[in-house]
Amino acid sequence: MNKVRRFLRAFFLVDIVQGLSITLRHYFGRKVTVQYPEVVKSLPPRFKGMLRLFRDEAGEPLCIACKACQRICPSHCFDIEGVRPEGSKVMRPTKFDWKLDRCTFCGLCVEVCPTDAIRFSETFRMSALGKDKLHFHLPDMYLRGEELQSHLCSGCLK
């Protein structure tokens, strides 16, 4: 009996029709393509975009040049030097180089930063013409969003 049923199912192409009906249903279903340049997916808060340095409300840099990020970085992206300005309690970076082309966006630097100075931005378009433009230097590390992007290593261009 089972054999007969199997034969009938095969002969009347039941499996074929079943497959076709599934694809037909999806034909009228929802389309998920995001039309990228016009529509950009909203990014989650923990999104790992380009790294940037932040300032506090008063506009003072948060970075104290403790080099914790430089030490933890598995791929040695950072090159940091700092001095203590006259009359200041904390160190300030005089050099803060970040090599985007080495970065693997693991986020260890963000986690170890004691002052939350280095954080991920939401900038994810990171292409540049030339490898040297992927090296960021100090003033640009404070840029944000579109500016950061359009200044992909403006320091080198100057």
Binding site: I22, P45, R46, K48, I72, T104, F105, C106, G107, F120
Partner: protein, 367 residues
């Protein structure tokens, strides 16, 4: 004999062939369409991970493990973290263990969904690829919301997980628990009964149970050979003993059975995630682990049930903050060894199907 009249053709599949899953190269010799010999040639993606690990601290290695099996990076994280924790005697909080289970099972689902897509695409059903990927997309969205990454997630740390599960993520996971069974049903509707799929998978790539064990085959491939080998149950880690789940086992050990095992595993994974979410204990999500973790000399081997099979890490410490030696037992690497035995005597077209059914990832094979 007549076979003398046929000329044996040597074919070179890969490393740029559409269905060798990356940069695998297969030296195939065929007689007409019948496969006589298959020899995998590896190393096109070899990055010297194990050498590199010897120069990194225990914390720094975690993001590098992401790059092994890049379709299941959280599983790699978990395997590595558990090994180090076992070696260093770090106690992981219960909540962190549960979150790890949730992440690992979601990762297993994502990996299997990608697998069914690739596998079906290798056999010619290209729509399943897109369905699998669309279903997988929602898992990647969860990972992105949770840890900011989609593929190389870096979603675990020594001693726990980097973030607590918040309401947004839990909501997303609950939603995925609803939608995924529908995708699985659609994929099964397209494949399970389909006569062509049956033709292409039934009785193909058979490896007898004894040989499977002998060759060190693990994971779904071994379960399809009739052995209920699942480290989540046999040697429970990260609180897997708290959950109730079945281990799908089939006996024919062909491509079709590997498909059935993985499809059922996805349902079981959903079950585990649901249980873990319901019983998520309160508490810390990460234990205090010193930033420079120095582990006294010792050696340990620990393995987990990764989506591809048994993923093991052997670590020898030497008292510094860097390991003396980390050896990874990559399931794909050992599983691939059985390819020749599975393919011999089958047709040329079956190589891609069998290769697909092994679910290999070259990042893991070549390390």
């Amino acid at each position: 004999m007549a076979s003398k009249a046929f000329k044996e053709i040597d074919l070179n599949m890969g490393p740029q062939h559409p269905s060798t899953h990356g940069v695998l190269r297969l030296k195939v010799s065929i007689d007409n369409e019948v496969v006589l010999h298959v020899e995998p040639v590896l190393g096109y993606l070899h990055r010297g991970m194990e050498k590199l690990w010897e120069s990194q601290t225990y914390h720094q290695i975690i993001p590098l493990t992401d790059r092994l099996d890049y379709l299941a990076s959280l599983s790699n994280n978990l395997g590595y973290c558990l090994t180090v924790e076992k070696l260093a005697g770090i106690e992981v909080p219960k909540r962190a263990q549960y979150i790890r289970v949730i992440l690992a099972e979601l990762q297993r689902l994502a990996s299997h969904l990608a697998w069914i897509g690739f596998m079906a695409n290798d056999v010619g059903a290209m729509t399943v690829l897109l369905y699998g990927f669309e279903a997988r997309e929602s898992f990647l969205d969860i990972f992105e919301t949770y840890a900011g990454g989609r593929l190389t997630i870096h979603g675990m740390r020594l001693g726990g997980v980097p973030f607590d599960l918040d309401e947004t993520v839990i909501g997303m996971i609950r939603k995925v628990l609803e939608t995924t069974p529908k995708w699985i049903a659609d994929i099964e509707g397209l494949l399970t009964d389909n006569r062509i799929w049956r033709h292409r998978t039934e009785g193909i790539g058979i490896i007898p149970q004894s040989d499977a064990l002998e060759n060190g085959l693990t994971g779904p491939c071994l379960r399809a050979a009739g052995m209920a080998w699942d480290l989540r149950r046999d040697l429970p880690y990260s609180s897997y003993e708290d959950f109730d789940f079945d281990i799908p086992v089939r006996t024919a050990s062909d491509v079709l059975d590997r498909y059935f095992v993985r499809m059922e595993e996805m349902r079981q994974s959903l079950r585990i995630v649901r249980q873990a979410l319901d019983r998520l204990p309160a508490g810390e999500h990460i234990a205090k682990v010193p930033r420079t973790l120095r582990i006294p000399p010792g050696e340990i081997y620990h393995s987990i049930e990764a989506p591809k099979g048994e993923l093991g890490f052997f670590i020898r410490s030497n008292g510094t903050d860097k390991p003396e030696r980390v050896k990874m037992r990559s399931p794909s690497f050992i599983n691939l060894m059985s390819l020749e035995q599975m393919c011999k005597g089958n047709l040329f077209s079956d190589i891609v199907g069998v290769l697909g059914s092994l679910d290999i990832v070259l990042g893991e094979i070549d390390k």
